[in-house]
């Protein structure tokens, strides 16, 4: 069936099978491979993206559920080649090692700072509970979010 959505500001329309997962649609039909598939069971958060301004795990949504939605993926975070301040903070504070979890971490951090611009360390850790870093680089991820929070004073 026909599914249209706006992804990172560009309108797309595709004919998809109803069982197509959103993450599969983004990666395979649109070539947006920055959104990763980790666990594929809605645990790890590597596939986190924004749907209508809220973080979701795109492995647990059907593309057809997002007909008409406004979507943002990691590819839409930078503006004209300038990294988003959260991306810049992850670079500055070494908030990534292998980088696999990073797209999801960045978008979850964005959601946190949008709802709570000055989070405590505990609030940052609670907000990132749905994102796993198997390099266990959590301390620097938390520092990166704190840095981003201070940047937007």
């Amino acid at each position: 069936m026909k599914v249209s959505m706006t992804v990172n500001g560009t309108a797309f329309e595709h004919d998809v099978e109803p069982r197509t997962l959103l993450v599969q649609h983004l990666r395979e039909n649109m070539g947006l491979t920055g959104t990763h598939v980790g666990c594929d069971t809605s645990s790890c958060g590597a596939c986190t993206i924004l749907v209508n301004g809220e973080t979701v795990k795109s492995c647990t949504l059907l593309a057809v559920q997002c007909d008409g939605a406004d979507i943002k993926t990691i590819e839409g975070m930078a503006t004209n080649g300038d990294l988003h301040p959260i991306q810049e903070s992850f670079r500055e504070k070494h908030g990534l090692q292998c980088g696999f979890c990073t797209p999801g971490m960045i978008l979850s951090s964005w959601q946190l700072l949008e709802r709570n611009p000055k989070p405590s360390e505990g609030e940052i850790r609670h907000a990132l509970e749905g994102n796993f870093c198997r390099c266990t680089g959590y301390d620097n991820i938390v520092k990166a979010v704190q840095h981003a929070s201070q940047q937007s004073a």
Partner: protein, 283 residues
């Protein structure tokens, strides 16, 4: 992991969804947030022939104060409940439990109606809904009916909801006990499902327990009201010893779940510990 093929229908209203349910018969399932249903479909534990999507129906996404009760649309997400000042004031146990479901991404999509219709024995809300003495509103082709929370959970994965009905609203009485309520949870550290979820609503008068309702999630095959704890404390002066005596009754005479992580004995002991903490917090 990709689900088996199915036919997808997006409902334009609740009444449209009900007629689609009749039209598509037994193989049809209602899709709300999809955070229980889609994972089971990906594992092919569930293979519905048709999904009827009510996830975008704004007519089901509301939280409003009706005076005697709060009306919560079945499509309200966990995040809506967690962040609502009204629920925080009138039924804090509900906002506390909403804020502990899954993680942020799950709370952005998952809905209260979906949880209650799915009736996972390990879900957080059922014990809370019982302690808050809620009423569940469902709609079918014959119109609307209401079900008391106490009559709603009928067994493991089973509810009083009929095949062709849709859960549309949850009503939470705005009484003194619900305004003084809490939810404490002993979570599985990886999945965050409760080994023990204890919800208590209690009003007090002159240092005594005037009215009390205790609900447990995660402890038994289905959520239950714990009359043992309630009867032990009702009308009693609230003190360390009366709370200890009442919480020692937690899950007494109940069949309690046991798994590789948490034995029946340990879970029963933790039910008592969490009851004691919750009662102390509200006293």
């Amino acid at each position: 992991m990709i689900p088996e093929s199915f036919d997808y229908q997006r409902a334009s209203s609740v009444s449209d969804a009900i007629s689609l349910l009749h039209q598509h018969g037994e193989g049809a399932k209602i899709l709300a947030g999809g955070h229980s249903l889609v994972p089971t479909m990906k594992l092919r534990l569930s293979t519905p022939a048709t999904l009827i999507d009510i996830g975008d129906l704004t007519e089901l996404k509301y939280i409003s104060d009706k005076g005697d009760y709060l009306a919560i649309g079945a499509g309200a997400t966990h995040w809506m409940l967690e962040s609502s000042d009204l629920i925080q004031q009138k039924a804090p146990a509900l906002s506390q439990s909403a804020g502990q479901v899954g993680d942020v991404q799950v709370r952005n999509r998952g809905t209260i109606g979906g949880v209650l219709a799915h009736s996972d024995p390990q879900a957080d809300y059922p014990g809370v809904i019982l302690a808050l003495n809620a009423t569940i509103v469902v709609q079918g082709s014959g119109g609307e009916r209401t079900i008391a929370a106490a009559d709603y959970f009928t067994g493991l994965w089973e509810t009083a909801l009929e095949e062709t009905e849709i859960l549309t609203e949850v009503r939470i009485p705005t009484d003194n006990a619900n305004a003084n309520s809490c939810y404490l949870k002993f979570p599985q550290p990886a999945s965050r499902y409760p080994y023990v979820g204890c919800a208590v609503a209690m009003s007090t008068a002159g240092g005594s327990c005037a009215e009390i309702r205790v609900g447990f999630s995660g402890v038994g095959e289905t959520a239950f009201r714990d009359s043992g704890v309630e009867n032990a404390l009702q009308g009693q002066a609230l003190s360390e010893s009366s709370i200890a005596a009442a919480s020692a009754k937690a899950a007494e005479g109940r069949s309690v779940l046991s798994d590789v992580f948490v034995s029946e004995e340990y879970r029963r002991a933790m039910a008592q510990v969490y009851a004691k903490r919750a009662l102390s917090q509200l006293s």
